[in-house]
């Protein structure tokens, strides 16, 4: 077997794959944050909790109702997205006339409540969720062993990201959305129900987070804290990429996942902070973010 800079290729590609999987979650979550921020002008701090909720609802569907992974992929985003819509109507909608900071504080409070309730009920040790039988096993690619489920996570996330990009950039609905992001008053004057669009957008962003949660359930154990630490990294990803561009969020998410994976191979001590270091560099060199527009 050949070696690369003293690293066996199985280790290198294995870590790259893990990085790509983390990157998938960064991409979906930062995409959701960007879509929500674009229209609502709030940072959804509860995004990590909603991702975690997605994993938990999938676990509940399986253990209480016997509904398996594939149906969960469809049902969970709808259920959690509907929950998001309720939150938006009851609480977040009251804050649009205030400073953005209040939206951040409100959703932070919501995240604490959701995490605390699930921690009370299920503890913090984590619940197992097994890989669906269709995706068990793996492929030997010669240079590495690819578990089927991990390959599926990357493909499914890419597909969802590209579909979201397509809807927002290439369809009439997306055009309304982009127009409302630029100037909601004018779009409302053309007879489009902007408040309803805002509500549905929030629901969609939350559904994206829940979808990521279902994908993550078999990879990581289902755990009330799984979203809290992730969301802070995703914030850094969002600062690096800038929230102005949908494609930018996707590219930055996957790219930073890969960088993190590479760091784990060559300098493991720094792997947990490498994204924050990159954030510092980006702030120095291009404060608006790689794909951001200057404020």
């Amino acid at each position: 077997m050949f070696e690369l800079l003293g690293i066996p290729p199985q280790a290198l590609f294995g870590q790259l794959l893990l990085g790509l999987i983390n990157g998938s979650f960064y991409a979906i979550l930062s995409l959701g944050l960007a879509v929500i921020f674009g229209l609502l002008n709030i940072i959804n701090f509860a995004h990590g909790a909603q991702y975690m909720l997605g994993a938990f609802v999938a676990w509940m569907l399986l253990n209480y109702l016997g509904i398996g992974y594939w149906w969960a992929l469809l049902i969970v985003p709808i259920v959690v997205g509907a929950f998001g819509i309720v939150l938006e109507r009851l609480m977040i909608a009251r804050l649009y006339h205030l400073d953005h900071l209040y939206g951040l504080l409100l959703t932070f409070g919501l995240a604490l409540i959701i995490q605390g309730l699930l921690r009370n009920q299920y503890g913090i040790s984590g619940l197992p969720y097994s890989i669906p039988p269709q995706l068990a096993g793996g492929q030997n690619l010669g240079f590495m062993f690819l578990p089927n489920y991990r390959g599926w996570v990357v493909v499914a996330s890419l597909a969802v990201c590209v579909a979201t990009w397509f809807v927002i950039e290439k369809t009439r609905l997306g055009a309304y959305l982009r127009a409302a992001t630029e100037n909601p008053t004018l779009v409302g004057a053309f007879g489009i129900n902007v408040p309803r669009m805002i509500t549905l957008t929030y629901g969609f962003g939350v559904a994206l987070a829940a979808f990521a949660g279902v994908l993550a359930a078999p990879v990581y154990s289902v755990n009330p804290n799984m979203g809290a630490d992730l969301i802070i990294v995703v914030f850094a990803v969002v600062v690096i990429g800038g929230m102005g561009s949908i494609l930018g969020s996707i590219v930055t998410g996957f790219g930073l996942g890969l960088v993190e994976g590479l760091t784990k191979v060559f300098y493991p001590e720094a792997s947990s902070v490498v994204i924050f270091v990159i954030m510092a560099i980006v702030l120095l060199v291009k404060p608006a973010g790689l794909f951001g527009r200057a404020a």
């Binding site: 921020f37 709030i42 940072i43 609480m91 009251r94 804050l95 205030l98 400073d99 953005h100 900071l101 209040y102 951040l104 504080l105 409100l106 932070f108 409070g109 919501l110 995240a111 604490l112 409540i113 959701i114 995490q115 605390g116 309730l117 921690r119 009370n120 809290a228 630490d229 802070i232 990294v233 914030f235 850094a236 969002v238 600062v239 001590e269 947990s272 902070v273 924050f276 270091v277 954030m279 510092a280 702030l283 120095l284 404060p287 404020a295």
Partner: protein
């Protein structure tokens, strides 16, 4: 951001310059009276309440006042203030235990560390505004958390335990909670008075101008970024003073001090007490620490209740306790 900025903190703080008759020191009489009352209450309290609990309240009150300097008076929401509190806690604990420094120098080492950290992170964070500023500070604080988890001197999950309280100035033994209490009282009140002085100086007036309308402050010729950075560093330094003192009081520095939930707690204290008020953060810290004390045995319920308080404060009670009270008595507090 700047246009909407005033809503962040403003209803709570009508310009305090004109209001109230000034005493000889330039402080409005009712403010001087409240500080004296705080001093009197502080001197009497350890005879009635458990001193360690009171010291905890004072450390967090100072922490919240330091945070309020940034959020309440400059309109900058730092969601990573645990980084300065916690790093000072670690450095003070390390200085007292490993270097064998006396408590006053140990705490000062902690303050120095928090100040340097505040300078570095602040210089980077002020390059973005508004919501991004909050995310950047949170992300850097998480970096400090990971550093504290892995660095050799922090003791990982165990933290630094059994920190000696030592001899203050070489001759006052702080082993007794009662003696230490009065030292902490002096530090906390001294810190709060210093913050009060900063808020009510010409420098503080510029900060309020930046909070109300950043673009206008710039157009008047103020170098807004320098003011923001200076405030950020001051706020980090006072947060460090609170963190270092806390490490000496509890003889412990741990990951809790640098965790993001600590950053959230200080936001909550300031919010519930009334941001942009002088005395709000003190009341907020007392409320939250008392609540944690009574609910400590109920596990995750503390988190849930904190979340509920966040939601209620943001939706219904944005002015905070002191904010409502000052409206009622028609004097800025």
């Amino acid at each position: 951001m700047s246009a909407a900025n005033h809503t962040a903190a403003s209803h709570a703080a009508p310009a305090p310059v004109a209001a109230g008759r000034a005493s000889a020191t330039g402080m409005p009489r009712h403010h001087a009276a409240i500080f004296l009352a705080l001093l009197a209450a502080g001197l009497a309290a350890p005879f009635f309440l458990y001193p360690v609990f009171l010291m905890k309240v004072m450390c967090f009150a100072l922490f919240a006042c330091a945070f309020n300097l940034l959020l309440g008076y400059t309109g900058l929401l730092s969601f990573g203030h645990a980084a300065y509190f916690g790093s000072a806690s670690y450095i003070s604990a390390h200085a007292a235990k490993v270097w064998g420094l006396p408590p006053e120098l140990a705490i000062l080492s902690g303050v120095a560390a928090a100040t340097v950290l505040g300078l570095v992170i602040g210089a980077l964070a002020i390059r973005r505004q508004g919501i991004y500023f909050a995310m950047v500070t949170l992300a850097f604080a998480q970096m400090v958390f990971f550093f504290s988890l892995q660095a050799p001197f922090t003791g990982g999950e165990d933290g630094i335990q059994a920190v000696p309280r030592g001899m203050l100035f070489g001759f006052i033994n702080l082993r007794s909670d009662f003696t230490l209490y009065f030292v902490v009282l002096a530090i906390a009140l001294g810190g709060m008075l210093a913050i009060y002085r900063i808020i009510h100086s010409p420098f503080g007036q510029v900060l309020k101008a930046i909070r109300e309308n950043e673009a206008r402050a710039t157009s008047l010729g103020y170098r807004v970024n320098r003011y923001k950075l200076a405030t950020f560093v001051l706020s980090a330094a006072f947060a460090g003073l609170a963190g270092g003192t806390k490490a000496i009081v509890f003889q412990l520095a741990s990951l809790t001090d640098v965790h993001w939930s600590m950053s959230g707690e200080v936001v909550l204290m300031t919010l519930i007490g009334g941001m942009g008020t002088v005395f709000g953060p003190i009341v907020g810290a007392a409320v939250i620490v008392t609540m944690q004390n009574y609910l400590a045995t109920f596990g995750a319920w503390v988190t849930i209740i904190q979340g509920v308080i966040f939601v209620v404060c943001v939706l219904l009670f944005r002015e905070g306790i002191i904010g409502v009270f000052q409206k009622w008595i028609k004097k800025p507090l």
